[in-house]
């Protein structure tokens, strides 16, 4: 069953706390992504990972870092979360970085930073 799994689905944190969002995929996809979705802004790319330890900044990387130690897992880390990082975060994967490959999305993580 081809799937992108995100954990947790919902998370509430206080400003200044660290946040770890996890994503897994069972399709052996090379490329993985983290997006955030905010009303009126669509989805914005935070980071893209081309393979293990091969990560690249997206359009809005400030305040985030990522970790990819295994091909099937891609983590998004917020060190000292800010209230403006309240958002819905989506992880996605694709077979390769080739632009011909479609993206498969996880169900999202709704993060509230108070």
């Amino acid at each position: 069953d081809m799937k992108v799994t995100q954990m947790p689905r919902y998370l509430i944190k206080r400003m200044g706390e660290n946040v770890l969002l996890e994503c897994g995929q069972d399709m052996s996809h090379e490329t993985m992504y983290w997006y955030r979705q905010d009303p009126g802004l669509g989805l914005q790319l935070i980071y893209i990972s081309y393979d293990v330890d091969s990560n690249s900044e997206g359009d809005i990387p400030k305040g985030y870092r990522v970790s990819r130690k295994k091909r099937e897992h891609f983590s998004l880390i917020l060190d000292s979360a800010k209230t403006n990082q309240t958002s819905v975060y989506f992880c996605a994967s694709s077979l390769s970085p080739n632009s011909q490959n479609t993206l498969y999305f996880g169900a999202g993580t709704r993060l509230s930073v108070l």
């Binding site: 669509g42 989805l43 790319l45 694709s94 080739n98 632009s99 490959n101 479609t102 993206l103 999305f105």
Partner: protein, 111 residues
């Protein structure tokens, strides 16, 4: 984003009718993907196009890379077609698969 302009922002359809969504691109675009997001927030890939047209059931999409636009046609709309539709483009000067998303078209199909 600014590079991908979706219209209309919202659309209301009666069951059985047809309509079209549009994305205009402000820069050269190598490929476009269309997604639908349902009420629970799940994003489903509908189409990938590098050129031409594709059809899947009652949905049909076209991409004109020269005129910088893509369309998504919904034929004989059903209640389950409701959701927010996003187009996403790979700009011509972009490395890899960095998609730029439009802000979406919210579609509501009424009985």
């Amino acid at each position: 984003g600014d590079q991908v302009e979706q219209s209309p922002s919202a659309l209301s359809l009666h069951e059985g009718t047809s309509s079209a969504l549009r994305c205009n691109f402000t820069t050269t675009t190598r490929s476009v993907q269309w997604f639908r997001q349902n009420s629970r927030g799940s994003l489903i890939n509908l189409f990938y196009l590098a050129s031409g047209t594709k059809e899947n059931g009652r949905l049909k999409s076209a991409f004109d890379s020269k005129e910088l636009y893509s369309t998504l046609h919904i034929r004989d709309a059903q209640l389950e077609d409701s959701g927010t539709y996003f187009c996403a483009a790979v700009p011509g000067n972009s490395a890899g698969n960095k998609l730029t998303f439009g802000i979406g078209t919210r579609v509501l199909v009424r009985p």
